[in-house]
């Protein structure tokens, strides 16, 4: 197992001045791949400046690994070119589909957890890994519906994809919490089913609770039950690289640094009880 990167943040352009002019207490940054898959100019310039001082991982939102459309070779070529330039520690995307019939719906849409979908996703992950020349990380998404024909729960499906495609995992603890609330399952059962040796990264984020269901909005601080679930994840999987995602109502970097300090404290406490156990 590779050593953990520590505690990172999602790289957001609004924070560039604080990042370049200060010394933020951030161990690494996660860049949204698509935002930097552009010909040139300021975005790539800024990313390479970040790269001079920090480790960077690339996180995509358009791989659409579960779509029945053919894999987008142009997209993969650009992603490979970006990776060759940035040399990220790893590349991740989501266990979902984002479009069909050539239309990008720009959302992380849920799959039915069937044998057909499993075979389809595994075959595509293998091809993507071949094309990129590296193992990728797949992330569990938040969902609001499940499908009647799903034969297994999401955690079994995710674990089986990882095993068969020999890929790695990005565990979004907030997404586990959100989906557990929406679909009334035990989030600990989800964690228990995850092959810990494949978990390379953890996402934390906030969300919006509408009472009947939770929407994954990434516009609030992480809530206490998600911190507890994060502690459970660290207890199970060890010192996994952890980061906080914020995509809306983005506060000053210093506020996210404080939230990251809390992640450090929660993880350190959880690791003590892991060693004690």
């Amino acid at each position: 197992m590779t050593s953990s990167l520590g505690f990172g943040l999602g790289l957001r352009p609004v924070h560039y001045p604080e990042i370049f002019e200060g010394s933020p207490r951030v161990d690494w940054f996660e860049a949204i791949s698509e935002n930097y898959m552009v010909p040139g100019g300021r975005p790539l310039h800024a990313l390479m400046r970040v790269r001079e001082r920090w480790s960077v991982v690339l996180h995509g939102v358009s791989l659409s690994i579960g779509s029945t459309d053919p894999l987008d070779e142009d997209y993969l070529g650009r992603l490979k070119a970006l990776a060759d330039r940035v040399e990220p520690v790893w590349i991740s995307d989501h266990l979902c589909w984002t479009g069909v019939s050539g239309i990008n719906l720009h959302d992380l849409l849920p799959l039915p957890y069937t044998e057909e979908a499993l075979g389809h996703v595994v075959e595509r992950v293998l091809r993507v890994q071949e094309r990129l020349g590296r193992h990728i990380l797949l992330e569990n998404v938040s969902s609001y519906v499940t499908f009647a024909q799903s034969a297994v729960p999401e955690w079994e499906f995710l674990a089986e994809v990882a095993r068969r495609a020999d890929c790695l995992l990005l565990l979004d603890v907030n997404n586990v919490y959100v989906s557990a609330f929406n679909h009334e399952f035990d989030p600990l059962a989800y964690l228990d089913a995850i092959p810990g040796e494949r978990v390379r990264q953890i996402h934390l984020a906030g969300h919006e609770n509408n009472g009947t269901h939770i929407i994954d909005t990434h516009d609030h601080p992480v809530i206490d039950p998600v911190w507890s679930l994060y502690a459970e994840a660290i207890r199970r999987f060890g010192p996994v690289a952890t980061m906080i995602e914020r995509d809306d109502r983005i506060p000053p970097l210093s506020e996210l640094e404080s939230e990251l300090d809390r992640a450090r404290a929660v993880a350190s406490q959880a690791l003590k009880s892991r060693r004690a156990a």
Binding site: E34, N35, M37, V38, P39, G40, G41, R42, P43, L44, H45, S62, G66, S67, T68, D72, D74, Y75, R78, W97, G99, V100, S101, G102, I103, N104, L105, H106, D107, L109, L111, P112, T114, E116, A117, H120, Y144, V145, T146, F147, A148, Q149, S150, N182, H183, E184, T212, H213, I215
Partner: protein, 262 residues
């Protein structure tokens, strides 16, 4: 339902409101199926409307919050995204506003969209090393008549019917823009270093730049200028413009018959 028809049914629900997908969704004790599916449906259009608002703040400021939301929703419905990134989602907005009533009767809207798209294109266009004005001195006099120019990938010349860029600048300063004056003319948008710049082009410079960007040589650029001023001053004016373009970082290379440089 197999995977492919399920995804098509889901997409049909998001794009057109067809309800075939309902039969594939497992009922939940938390909320009814339509509420849960509605999270996706609402999210789909809200996300893309927000993308347009972020990418076209000038159009939004001109149209006003309410009218913008309306036009953005019509655009979202008429132009599903085909790019891997939302970055290209608004590429057809200017054309849409130019052609679709009632917006087609409001030329400043389409102009503003075209101008903002040009700013965005210049922002992340490919990098290239510009030549400095000292390059002019290195050119032998016989080279000039056949001299052609390579422009930085960010350079855009656009013809507008209104003074939309002035309203953009007001909006960009955080103020409410006035309705742009009707004032047909050409504008230059480009990136110098990492900074996007723009300025109005005089008609003769617009003609010269159009010729030069089309790959025509110095002689042809002079002919284009001669249509806008005294013929005997055309070569002098052309040389002055080229110096200006070099100083602004617009030119990345020149070539002339018999030799390549830059």
């Amino acid at each position: 339902m197999r995977l492919d028809p399920l995804q098509r049914a889901f997409a049909g629900y998001l794009l057109d409101g067809t309800d075939e997908i309902r039969t594939a969704v497992r009922p939940s004790s938390k909320a009814d199926i339509d509420t849960l599916l509605g999270v996706y449906r609402h999210g789909y259009s809200a996300r893309l409307v927000e993308v347009l608002g972020n990418d076209f703040p000038g159009v939004k400021a001109l149209a006003g919050e309410e009218e913008f939301e309306k036009l953005a929703r019509v655009y979202v419905a008429a132009h599903p995204s085909h790019g891997f990134s939302v970055r290209s989602f608004g590429d057809a907005l200017s054309e849409f506003l130019r052609q679709s009533p009632p917006y087609s009767e409001w030329p400043a809207l389409a102009d503003m969209a075209a101008f903002e798209a040009a700013l965005a294109d210049a922002f992340d266009a490919a990098d290239a090393e510009p030549m400095g004005p000292e390059h002019m001195a290195s050119l032998p006099p016989p080279a000039w008549p056949t001299l052609t120019f390579a422009f930085h990938p960010s350079v855009r010349r656009l013809g507008l019917r209104t003074a939309a860029p002035a309203a953009w600048s007001t909006q960009n300063a955080g103020e409410l823009p006035e309705e742009p004056a009707t004032q047909a003319g050409d504008w230059l948008v480009w990136r110098q270093g990492l900074d996007v710049k723009y300025r109005r082009l005089d008609p003769d410079e617009a003609a010269a730049l159009q010729a030069a960007m089309a790959g025509e040589d110095f002689s042809a650029i002079c002919e284009a200028l001669a249509e806008h001023g005294p013929e005997e001053e055309a070569a002098f004016r052309a040389a002055g413009l080229i110096r200006l373009w070099l100083e602004a970082g617009l030119v990345t290379g020149t070539s002339h018959q018999g030799q390549l440089s830059g």
